[in-house]
């Protein structure tokens, strides 16, 4: 049998998902685009994300170790 907590979780997440989260997701996807790069692009030569080319630096790992998760 479901506990009250389970029922509350279902109702809360259902409302949260469709009233708050879904509109945000639509807004995000419309203005920013696909956050997961899902598109298969047969014209591309490679699917690697190269850190030296796109401006992102992923080489200084000392700063990566700062004690936050």
């Amino acid at each position: 049998m479901r506990s009250m907590r389970d029922i509350f979780e279902v109702v809360f997440t259902l409302i949260f998902y469709y009233v708050v989260f879904f509109p945000v997701a639509v807004f995000f996807k419309f203005f920013i685009g696909d956050p997961l790069n899902l598109e298969i692009d047969e014209t591309r030569g490679s699917y690697w994300t190269e850190y030296s080319q796109d401006g992102k630096q992923k080489t200084d790992f000392k700063s990566q170790f700062i004690n936050r998760s």
Binding site: E9, Y17, A25, L38, E42, Y47, Y51, F61, K62
Partner: protein, 613 residues
């Protein structure tokens, strides 16, 4: 400097300790809790590490967690955004878990560390490495290479599923990545799920099943599920997968593509599952070989280090080695997430603290044969065995012990072998192993059905003296961690009749293929462990004795457990497994236990204690 690495909260929790650049100890939590793939905070492993190094918690300079939980949360949120409105099922399940628990992992770890010593400022000692940096560090720093390309591939870390890094001296630079949801590990897991095996543990079975089938679905997979570029980079077609939006790896479209629903776990295996296994293995090998070729060309590196769960695919590793894109390949034996604990500790030591690598790796790598776990001295063993009512005799010395064991092995008996420090990583390498005679045509069936209680198709691995390797297998490199597959030497193969050649699927098992049939898979391959005197002299001596008696320098080596059970750790675990199976002899330290001499009342069928994997 002392750095403790931890992996936890996903699967395969573990802890590892690095002291002044040397790997002192490492252990996986499941071995202590007896819960396979245990993901809980590794309190037992941490305690073991501290005790093993005779140090107190306050002596630890840094604790490094193997990934960044908040980055994982970001990935989860972005995935839900990308998939909306499809992903409510997954959202409903994951959000309460994250809101109530996972988002506060840092606090959880600090709280747990305080139970070790509440006067230590753990907040300032706790660091977080990135998941793939941890894997890369676990592969590069213990290797013998001064510089190397490092390829890591797994299901997913924070974002990365595949990464290429360059290791030089005491530094690692991540050069490029392929990010979630495009993952070779998850693609392989999707087929693991579809063929009716358990995700995160059944991948090994899919690899073992592959040689029974034909890769007739490989083109279908490449046409629909994965786009592979010439440099080996890839993207998955998410229309066929369920892991972004639901709680399963695959969806209805995936099943429709292959014309049937997923196989039910434990139901009869058919030729179709074997062909699917062969097909996904074929695709995985194609990706790995293309990656290897392009990485060698782009980086100019002559060495390659591998880690991440995909690096446990020893068949693909063997093919990569055979292509000779690199002069040397080294694979982290604990390539999965447990090894992340070790990588985190090494990354903390070398990269964060900027301390140099040890340079005494001229002869061996830094893993010490991966014998990094707990050991039990002779007095402890005798005390424990007496306490649990075991009947045993004690060999006077190692020579007497190895002679006796080699003799009973040559007579076709199965021997449980519990010696020295436990292995770190998923493979048993002669410290917690069940051993047998590879010349016996019935040994594979016997061990699978009467000892391990597992599927009859699964192959067993040979342990061979390093000096005899080239005489028996088509392999020139040492393979101390059982991570390379190569063919049995042609001169040792038996002639197969025309009728036998025509056999399909599981019937292939009944054919005697070589002079060492118990370790020869149906495609004449073997997953080889080379045994070295420097790292395990007792196991080396045992095989050497067996060699003297039989002329065969090889033993069947399988992990000391039954299906679904973590590999045994303590002498009690070993005795329970011994008494619950048809193993005829158990050897712990210098103690020899003969099954026929044990109290019948001690026999207990304990298969039900473990969920099938």
């Amino acid at each position: 400097m002392k750095v403790l690495g931890i992996s936890a909260f996903y699967h395969d929790s573990a802890a590892a300790l690095v002291m002044d650049g040397e790997i002192i100890c490492a252990a996986q939590e499941e071995r202590f809790t007896r819960k396979k793939h245990d993901d809980s905070y590794p309190v037992n492993s941490i305690n073991y590490c501290l005790e093993s190094a005779s140090m107190e918690a306050k002596d630890v300079d840094y604790v490094v967690f193997y990934d960044k939980p908040l980055e994982k949360f970001r990935r989860l949120m972005k995935t839900h955004i990308a998939m909306a409105p499809k992903g409510y099922g997954s959202f409903r399940y994951s959000m309460p878990t994250w809101a109530g628990d996972k988002a506060f992992q840092r606090n959880k770890i600090i709280k747990s560390l305080r139970t070790l010593d509440q006067n230590v400022d753990w907040k300032n000692k706790l660091l977080f490495s990135e998941h793939h940096l941890s894997h890369a560090a676990s592969a590069f720093f213990p290797s013998r290479f001064h510089d190397s390309a490092i390829l890591t591939m797994d299901g997913v870390g924070e974002w990365a599923t595949t990464s290429l890094a360059i290791g030089q001296g005491n530094n690692i630079k991540i050069m490029k990545e392929i990010n979630f949801p495009h993952s070779l590990g998850l693609l392989y897991s999707a087929f693991t799920s579809y063929t009716g095996f358990r995700v995160n543990s059944g991948e090994y079975k899919v690899m073992g099943l592959a040689p029974y089938g034909e890769p007739r679905f490989a083109q279908l997979i490449k046409n629909n599920l994965i786009d592979i570029k010439s440099d080996g980079s890839f993207r998955l077609n998410m229309e066929y997968f369920g892991y972004c939006t639901g709680m399963s790896m695959i969806n209805d479209s995936f099943c429709e593509l292959f014309g049937a629903p997923a196989r039910s776990p434990e139901s009869q295996l058919t030729q179709k599952e074997m062909d699917l296994a062969a097909s996904i293995q074929n695709v995985a090998e194609e990706v790995l070989l293309k990656l290897g070729k392009s990485i060698a060309a782009d980086t100019g590196m002559r060495n390659l280090c591998l880690a991440g769960g995909v690096a446990l695919n020893c068949v693909a590793n063997g093919k990569l080695l055979k292509e000779k894109f690199f002069d040397n390949i080294w694979i982290q034996p604990a390539a999965g997430d447990a090894g992340g604990a070790l990588g985190a500790a090494l990354a903390g030591y070398h990269i964060h603290a900027d301390l140099p690598r040890r340079n005494d790796f001229e002869k061996m790598d830094g893993m010490k044969g991966t014998y990094l776990g707990p050991k039990y001295d002779q007095r402890d063993v005798e005390r424990i065995l007496t306490l649990i009512g075991a009947r045993y005799t004690v060999a006077q010395n190692e020579a007497e012990l190895t002679k006796f064991c080699a003799q009973v092995l040559a007579e076709g008996k199965a021997v449980g072998w519990h010696q020295g420090r436990m292995e770190f990583g998923p493979r048993a390498l002669g410290a917690r192993s069940i051993l047998g005679d590879p010349r016996s045509p019935t040994m594979q069936r016997l061990l699978n059905l009467k000892v391990k209680y597992r599927e009859s198709f699964r192959p067993f691995a040979p342990s061979i003296l390093i000096d005899e390797l080239s005489e028996w297998f088509e392999l020139e490199e040492a393979s101390p961690y059982m991570l390379l597959v190569a063919n049995v030497n042609k001169k040792l193969l038996e002639k197969i009749s025309k009728d036998e050649e025509k056999l399909f699927g599981i019937k292939k098992l009944n054919v005697k293929r070589s002079k060492i049939p118990a370790v020869t898979h149906v495609d004449n391959s073997a997953r080889i462990q080379t045994v070295h005197k420097q790292t395990n002299h007792l196991y080396y001596a045992l095989i050497n004795e067996f060699y003297k008696i039989t002329g065969c320098p090889i033993l069947v080596n399988t992990s000391f457990n039954i299906r679904g059970e973590p590999i045994v750790n303590t002498p009690e675990d070993a005795y329970r497994c011994f008494m619950g199976t048809d193993i005829e002899f158990l050897v712990i330290g210098n103690c020899i236990l003969d099954k026929s001499q044990q109290d019948e009342m001690s026999k207990r069928d304990y298969k039900q204690d473990f969920a099938l994997d």
